[in-house]
Amino acid sequence: MIYVESPIPLVVSSLSLLVALAAVAFWGRLVLRRERRRLFPLAIFFTAAGVALMAGLLVAVDAGLATRTVLFLVLVRLGGLLATSMLIVIGVMLPLVERLREAESAEAKFRGLLESAPDAIVIVNREGQIALVNTQTEKLFGYKRAELIGIPVEVLLPERFRERHVGHLTAYMSAPTTRPMGVGLELAGRRMDGSEFPIEISLSPIGTEEGLFVTSVIRDISERKRAEGEIRRLNAELEQRVVERTAQLEAINKELEAFSYSVSHDLRAPLRAMSGFSRILLDEYAPQLAPEAQRYLQLVRDNAQQMGRLVDDLLAFSRLNRQPLNKQRVSPADIARQTLADLRSEQDGRQIEIAIGELPTCQADPALVKQVFANLLSNALKFTRRREVARIEIGCQQTDGECVYFVKDNGVGFDMQYVHKLFGVFQRLHRAEEYEGTGVGLAIVQRIVQRHGGRAWAEAELNKGATFYFTLGGDDTHG
C-alpha cells in the first residue's frame, strides 16, 4: 500500500535482498564453517529484515510519508531485528557454549588418561618436538614438564642414539604406523642427570587438525631386565650344576666299573687257586688221601666254585644297570626254543614235556630276553627235577591289552607267604643241598623286565608247581 504509486522502491528492495542473501551465504561459509547449517536461515532472515528496513525507509522518505508513519515502520523493523538476535543467541551461541564445555571435559578425560597411565607418555609433533608429556615422564626422566615442552625429543635419549633417532623419526613421520611395545628395538633412555636405563617404546600416530603427532609410550624395563638377567644367571648356574653333577655321576660310574673289574679279577684269583690246587690234589694225589680228606678237599673245591658263581652272578646283576638297552623286534618263542636247546644238558635222561604257545613278537633287547628265559627255564628244569614227568609250559596271555608272558612248571613250587622275597638278590627259598643256586637269577629277571618298562611276578603252590609271569613294557609289545 505504501509503495503502490511507484515500482522503483520494490525493485530496489528486491535487489538489495538478493545481494544480502549472497553476502550472507559467503560470510557464513567463511566464518562459521561448522555452524553454518544452523546459522544460515537465521542469518538470511536477520539480514533480509535489515535490508528490507533500510529499503522501506528509503522508499518511505521518497514517497514523502509522514514522519510518524516512518517511525512506526522503523519500530516494527527494530522489533523484528531484536527477535532475530534472540533467535541467533538461542540457536547458535548456546550450542557453541555447550560444545566448548564438551571439549573441555574431553580434554580433562584425555589428561586423566595421560596421567593415570603407568608408563611415560610423550607426544611429539611432526618436527620431533615434544608437545605434551605426562607426570610419569617427569618422574622417569627427572625433567620438569615445562623444561621438555617444545624441545627435540632426542633430549630423552643417550647422546650416542640421538643422531640416528632424528633419521628414524623422519622415516616414521613419512609412513606412520602403530608399533606395539616389544616389537621395536629395546632402547635406552637418558635421565636429566645423564644416567641411562633400558626402555621399551610403542609408537602410534595421531592425525589432528594441527597436523600429525606421534604418541610414544615409554616403559622403564630396568626391573624386567634385572629379572631376565637373574633368570639367565640362575639358568647358567643350574646348567653348571647339572654339568658338575653329571661329571660326579660319571666319575662314580667309572669308579663302580673299576670296582667291579677289580672284584671280577682280584676276588676270583684266590678262588682259582683254591679250586685249581684242590682239583690237582684230587686228580693226582687221591690214592694217598684218606676218603675223609678227599671229601673235605671236594668241599673246599665246591665252595670255591660256588663263590666264583656268586661273584659272576653279582657282576652280571650289576652290569645290567650299566649296559645300554639294545631294543629291536624279537620273537620270544624263538628265544625260548634256543634257550631250551642251550639247556639240553639239564634235560638229559629226564622225561620232560615242554609246550611253547603262541608268543607275539615284541620290542626288546634280545640278549636280555634270552637271559630272562634262561633264568626262568633253568629254574623250571631245576625245580621239576624230582618229578617223574616234568611239565613246562611257555605261553602268553593278553591282560588289559598287555602281553603277559609266562613260564609254568609242575615242580616243587613254593609257599606264597614268601613270594615277596622271591625277586630279591641272594634270596633263596630252598636249601642249597636240595636245589643249588646263588639266589640272583630272579633278581636279574626282575631287573631286566623293569629296564624294559615291564613287571615280573609269580604264583605258586607248595609241591604243585610255580608260574612266573613277566611283561616287557606296554606300549610296543605288539605288532
Binding site: 673289574y261 671280577s264 679279577h265 676270583r268 684269583a269 682259582r272 687257586a273 685249581g276 661273584v311 659272576d312
Partner: protein, 147 residues
C-alpha cells in the same frame, strides 16, 4: 735254551695262575717250550726282542701268546694292541686269559683282534678248545716253525 724252541709265551703275573697253567700244560706234554714272563713290559721285550731279550731273533716269534689282562707295568690290552699293531707280530695268535665275563667285555670293546679267550682257571679242556679254534694243532704236535 735256544729261543727258537719257544712255542708258547705265557704272560701272567699271578704265581698261582702260572703254576696252574704250567701244570695243565705239563700234564698234556705241552710244557717243553713254554716261556713265562711276569709283566707286560717283559712281554713286550720278549716279543719285540728288546731290553733283556735283545739277543733274541724277532723271526723266531712264539707260536702262540697266552696273555693275562691285568698285568703290572704295561697291561695286557696294551701288549695286545702293540702285537696286533705291528706287521711283524700281528700274525701271532693271541689267547687272552680272562678272569671273568666282565673282563671279556672289556677285551671285546677294544676289538683288538684277539684270537681266542680262555676263562681261568686254565683247564685242559678249555685250553685244547682254544687251540682247536686257532687251528694250531702243529703247536701241540711240536712241529718246527713254518712262518
Amino acid at each position: 735254551m735256544a729261543d727258537n724252541y719257544v712255542e708258547i709265551l705265557l704272560v701272567e703275573d699271578n704265581p698261582n695262575d702260572v703254576e696252574l697253567a704250567l701244570h695243565a700244560l705239563k700234564r698234556n706234554n705241552l710244557a717243553n717250550h713254554i716261556h713265562v714272563v711276569r709283566d707286560g713290559a717283559e712281554a713286550l721285550d720278549f716279543i719285540f726282542c728288546t731290553g733283556a731279550y735283545a739277543h733274541r731273533n724277532l723271526a723266531n716269534s712264539p707260536k702262540v701268546i697266552l696273555l693275562d689282562l691285568k698285568l703290572p707295568k704295561v697291561d695286557g690290552l696294551e701288549v695286545l694292541r702293540q702285537v696286533k699293531g705291528d706287521p711283524r707280530t700281528q700274525a701271532i695268535p693271541v689267547v687272552v686269559l680272562t678272569s671273568s665275563r666282565e673282563e671279556l667285555d672289556i677285551v671285546e670293546s677294544y676289538q683288538l683282534g684277539v684270537n681266542s679267550y680262555i676263562v681261568k682257571p686254565v683247564d685242559f679242556e678249555q685250553f685244547t678248545e682254544a687251540v682247536r679254534q686257532l687251528g694250531l694243532y702243529w703247536v701241540l704236535l711240536n712241529q718246527p716253525p713254518s712262518l
